[in-house]
Structure formats: C-alpha cells, structure tokens
C-alpha cells in the first residue's frame, strides 16, 4: 500500500502528483480515499491490539480466584477502557476504513464527496484515543464505571471521566462527519447506470449504517454533555437529589447504544454478503429482501433499547413491549442468514480464507443471535442480567460476528489494495486458530453466566474457577493468533506474489475491473454501468 501508481485509464495524464507531498506529510494531509482507508484500517488494528492487551490483563487477573496482579479499581478501568477502545477505536474505525476504500470503488466514484473532511474525520481519532489512554495517568485513574458510563457513578468519578467524555465527543464528531460523507457520496456520486437497487450490498449496508450514525451519535453526545454539566456546572439531569433521574441516563444511553450495536454489525453483513456470492459463484440470493431486511433491522433497532434495562423497575407492560420487539428483530436477521445459506446452496464453492471467515461468521453470529433471543425473554434476562452470559452473547456477535467479517474482508480485498497475494496457508491457519481459541474463550462464559457469575468483577467465588481458567487460556491463544494476521499482511505487502486484477473468479463488483493495486486515482471518468 506504499506505491501510488497513477491511473491513466481516464484518457488524460496530469502532473499534480509531482507536487504531492511524500513521506509522513503525505499521510497527514492526504485527501485520497484509499490513503484514508489505509489509515483507518491500520489505526483500527493498532487499537484492536491495544484493547486486546487490556483484555489479556483482565483474563490474567481472572485466571484464578483472588486478586493477583491488579487492584479492583484498576480492574474496573481495564474493563471500561477495553470496551471503549474496542467499540470506538477498533470496530467502528475498521468499518469506516472498509467504507473509505470500497464505497467509491464499488459505485464508480472518483473519491468521497468531501475529501478534506474525510481527512479530518480520521485525524480526530488518534487525538481522541490519546485522551483515553492519558486518562490512566491522571489523578483518580481512568474511567471505571463500565463503557456505559451509568449515572450516578459517572457523575462522581474523577478527572478520567472528563477525558473520556471529551474523547467520546471527538469520536462522535468524527463518526458524524464520516457518515455525512458516506451518505453524500452514495447518493450523489454514483456512476451513470448505478441505480440504488444495483448497488453492491456492502454499499447498502453502509448507507443504512451512516443514517443510523447521524441519528444516534448526537444522542450520545447529548447524554455525555449532560453528564459533563452534572459533574461541573451544577445541573441535575441525572442526580436524584437535585430532582433528576439516573434511569433517564440509561434510557438516553441505550437509545444510542442499541442502534450502536447494529452500526457495528451492518457493515459486516455487507462484507459477508459480498464474499459469499463470490466464493459460491452465484449471485446473492434475494438481493431485494436483503435490502429490506437490513432496513427493517435498522428501524427496529430503535424500538428495543430497554431490553438492556429489564431490571431497573419498569412496568410489566414496558417489559413486554421491549421483549416482543427484541424477538421481532430476529425475523429480518433470520431472513439474512437464510439468504446467505441459500446463496451457498448448490453453488460451486471454494474455501479460500475470506470464505472461511464468512462461513465462520454465519455460524457463530447465528449462535450469538440465539443467545440474544434467550436474553430477550424478560424473566430469563432478569436472572442473566450482568452475568457472564451477556458477556458471552455480545462477544459472539461482535468478535465472531464483526471481527471475523472484517478479517474476511481484509483477505478478500488485500490483493486489490496492495497488488499482492497473501499467504493462503497462513490465512487458513489464522482462521482455524482464531475459530478454535475464540470458542475456548467465550463458550464457557455461557456456563459461567448460567451458574451466576457476575460480570465486571475482579474476583469470583471458587466454583467458577475451572471455566475461568479455560477462558483465560483461550484468550491468550486467540490474542497470539492475531499476530499471524499481522505477519501475513506485512509480508504480503512487502514481498507477496503479484496479484491479478481479479484474483477471485466469482467476484463481480466494480473494483475488480481495476488493476491490482488499484491506481491512486480511479474512475476519474465514471464508468457506465449496465
């Protein structure tokens, strides 16, 4: 990804890159969607490793009962920052990285609609995560109330909470700017003939995700702003003694928080919907129903937020409403799973690394969805709320879901990005090691939750020891397995064999009409799509 071949396919040559900065200034000032996509992806991988180190520290402490290596307050900071970094630093920027690289290429656009704002959207992120990591070193330490920042604990917390609030504001601004860019690009810069219902499903899922971001990131910003004013400016939005309501924070937070989890998974749905048809050598089954199902999921995601709050004391009628709505959202999700399987049915399938991760996604995300259905049942959730069953559920949908899809996307598009093929054998090893160790880590957490182990605790009763040991061993195996991906990507970029323009026989989206690596400028003359 360090070469910048110039595209002369548009019929004109220009010398503006003679004046284009090189070296570090290239990366700081770039307005090119490919460069910015590369920045987002590398940033997200670094954050994934950083968040993973926090997780391994957590799992080291939890290997045995008792307090071994960290004190309880720091442990709570670890869990809080692990969540914030993985969500806002790893998963979301990775999805934006894929969007930056692929959306313009897939719709035949020369770049994003607002190229300079695209640069700002990225460079806000390193500043924000610096604030987050700095919070470990301020008096009182980092925020320690969980990534959900519930009042009244967050109102009383130290300076670390202020840094966290500022970081969230900055990351929210980055996401909103990025979403405006993506929506405008998709609506206004499609090539002639590229109607909405001809767009690749990855573009559809990102369009819908971007609308979700516009809708909910301001809500989070409002919530943390009120938290800030409660902390420092004498307001009492969430302070019961001042006439406020701490549960209102939960309502506002989860009104953002539940669509947020769909923001994290919809791009992955798009990636899987791209990979499975390519390696099945069949068109995606039920394209229109996939669009409608994704739209339904997005809209329904706004009607389920209080399933995170079944134990706050809401009336039974409210609990019933949110239980039914949560069960209902499984229907369009099931449509998508059915369509992925139907795409593979009687397809001429091969199982290269992208396809392995896509199939792994379908299987494990479905398992995570099933545990979500279990948690949707109010009386069951009242028992399982804040136990490790919930931790197992969301790691199945976010790690085996989002992250596996991103891994598949990296292997699928890496030849286009850097013009070289990765090592297939190493990719297969990466898949199987990730698959095995992921399940060793998180499957036992279902048992721990059902047995009653609470989450966010640095110590636990001795009857939970065995499965915690298993989970900790699995976590280290999973973490070390990711170094295979790093090694594979770096050696691919440096010395991989040259990749053809279309390394995947069944791939049929616009980016595969371009050379590999994709030229620095592409589609300066829009293609006509038939």
């Amino acid at each position: 990804m360090s070469s910048i071949p110039h595209d002369h396919a548009g019929g004109h040559a220009h010398d503006e890159h003679a004046h284009h900065p090189g070296g570090i200034m290239r990366w700081i000032t770039t307005t090119n969607h490919k460069d910015i996509g590369t920045l987002y992806l590398w940033f997200s991988f670094i954050m994934f490793l950083a968040g993973g180190c926090l997780a391994l520290t957590i799992r080291t402490e939890l290997f045995e009962p008792g307090l071994q290596i960290v004190d309880p307050e720091f442990f709570n900071s670890l869990t809080t920052l692990h969540g914030l970094i993985m969500i806002f630093g790893a998963i979301m920027p990775a999805a934006v990285g894929f969007a930056n690289w692929q959306v313009p290429l897939m719709i035949g656009a020369p770049d994003m609609a607002f190229a300079r704002m695209n640069n700002w959207s990225f460079w806000l992120l390193p500043f924000a995560v610096t604030l987050l990591f700095t919070s470990f070193f301020v008096p009182g330490g980092a925020a320690a109330g969980g990534w959900t920042l519930y009042a009244p604990l967050s109102v009383q917390a130290g300076m670390g909470m202020d840094l966290t609030i500022f970081a969230i504001h900055i990351m929210g601004a980055s996401s909103i700017m990025g979403s405006i860019n993506i929506i405008t690009t998709i609506l206004n810069l499609r090539a002639p003939g590229m109607t909405m219902m001809k767009m690749p499903l990855f573009v559809w899922t990102w369009l819908i995700t971007a609308y979700l971001l516009i809708a909910v990131m301001p809500v989070l910003a409002g919530a943390v702003t009120m938290l800030l004013t409660d902390r420092h400016f004498g307001t009492s939005f969430f302070n019961a003694a001042g006439g406020g309501d701490p549960v209102m924070f939960q309502h506002i937070f989860w009104f953002f928080g539940h669509p947020e989890v769909y923001i994290m998974i919809l791009p992955s749905f798009g990636i899987v919907s791209t990979i499975i048809p390519a390696f099945s050598r069949k068109p995606l089954f039920g394209y229109a129903s996939m669009v409608y199902a994704t739209s339904s999921i997005a809209i329904l995601s706004f009607l389920v937020w209080a399933h995170h709050m079944f134990t706050v004391g809401m009336p039974a009628a409210g609990q019933l409403f949110f239980m039914y709505m949560t069960m209902l959202i499984a229907v369009p999700t099931g449509v998508k799973v059915f369509n992925w399987i139907a795409t593979m049915w009687k397809g001429s399938m091969t199982f290269e690394t992208p396809m392995l991760f896509a199939i792994g996604f379908v299987f494990l995300f479905t398992l995570g969805g099933f545990t979500g259905l279990v948690l949707a049942i109010t009386p069951v959730d009242i028992q399982l709320q804040d136990t490790y069953y919930v931790v197992a559920h969301f790691h199945y949908v976010l790690v085996a879901g989002s992250l596996f899809a991103f891994f598949g996307g990296i292997y699928y598009w890496l030849p286009k990005w850097c013009g070289r093929m990765y090592n297939e054998a190493m990719g297969v090893w990466h898949f199987w090691l990730s698959m095995i160790f992921f399940n060793i880590t998180f499957f036992p957490m279902h048992f721990l939750g059902l047995a009653g182990m609470p989450r966010r605790v640095p110590d636990y009763a001795t009857q939970f020891t065995d499965w915690n040991m298993v989970a900790s061993i699995g976590a280290f195996g999973f973490g070390l397995s990711q170094l295979l991906l790093l090694y594979n990507v770096v050696t691919c970029i440096r010395s991989g064999p040259p990749a053809p323009a279309k390394p995947w026989e069944g791939a049929d989206t616009l980016e595969w009409t371009l050379p590999s690596p994709a030229p620095y400028h592409t589609f300066e003359t829009p293609p006509h799509v038939h």
Binding site: N188, A191, M248
Partner: protein, 71 residues
C-alpha cells in the same frame, strides 16, 4: 432533502452544489437531535420531551431509508 436530488449526468458544479445541500441537511438534523436531547430535559415533562425526540429520530430514519429503498 427535497432539493438535494442529484443528476448523474450533471456537471461537477451541480454535483458539488447537491453534495453541499445534502451535507447541510444532514448536519442540521444531527445538531437538532443533539440540542433536542438536552432541551427535552427542560420541558415540563422530560419523559414526554425525550419521547417526542425519539419519535422524531425514528421518523427521520424511516423517511431517509424509505426514500432510498423506493428508488
């Protein structure tokens, strides 16, 4: 977003103008939601205020996605 419709065959200036309109509408919506979350708390009944905002956000999403799905 009624005036943001883009003509793929149009020139670069009309494309830029359409993009600016789209961005302006979307950023206005984001600012409105942000302010609405906070101002809802100052209404006589915060629960009602935030519910109204919630319906507005849901309505935005239905209209935004629905318009594109119908194209």
């Amino acid at each position: 977003m009624a005036n943001t419709r883009f003509d793929p065959a149009g020139d670069a200036d009309s494309r830029r103008a359409a993009s600016r309109r789209t961005a302006l509408v979307l950023s206005s919506i984001a600012v409105t939601f942000f302010a609405g979350v906070i101002l809802a708390q100052y209404s006589g009944a915060p629960g009602v205020g935030i519910a109204v905002l919630g319906f507005a956000i849901l309505g935005f999403l239905i209209v935004a996605i629905g318009r594109n799905v119908r194209k």
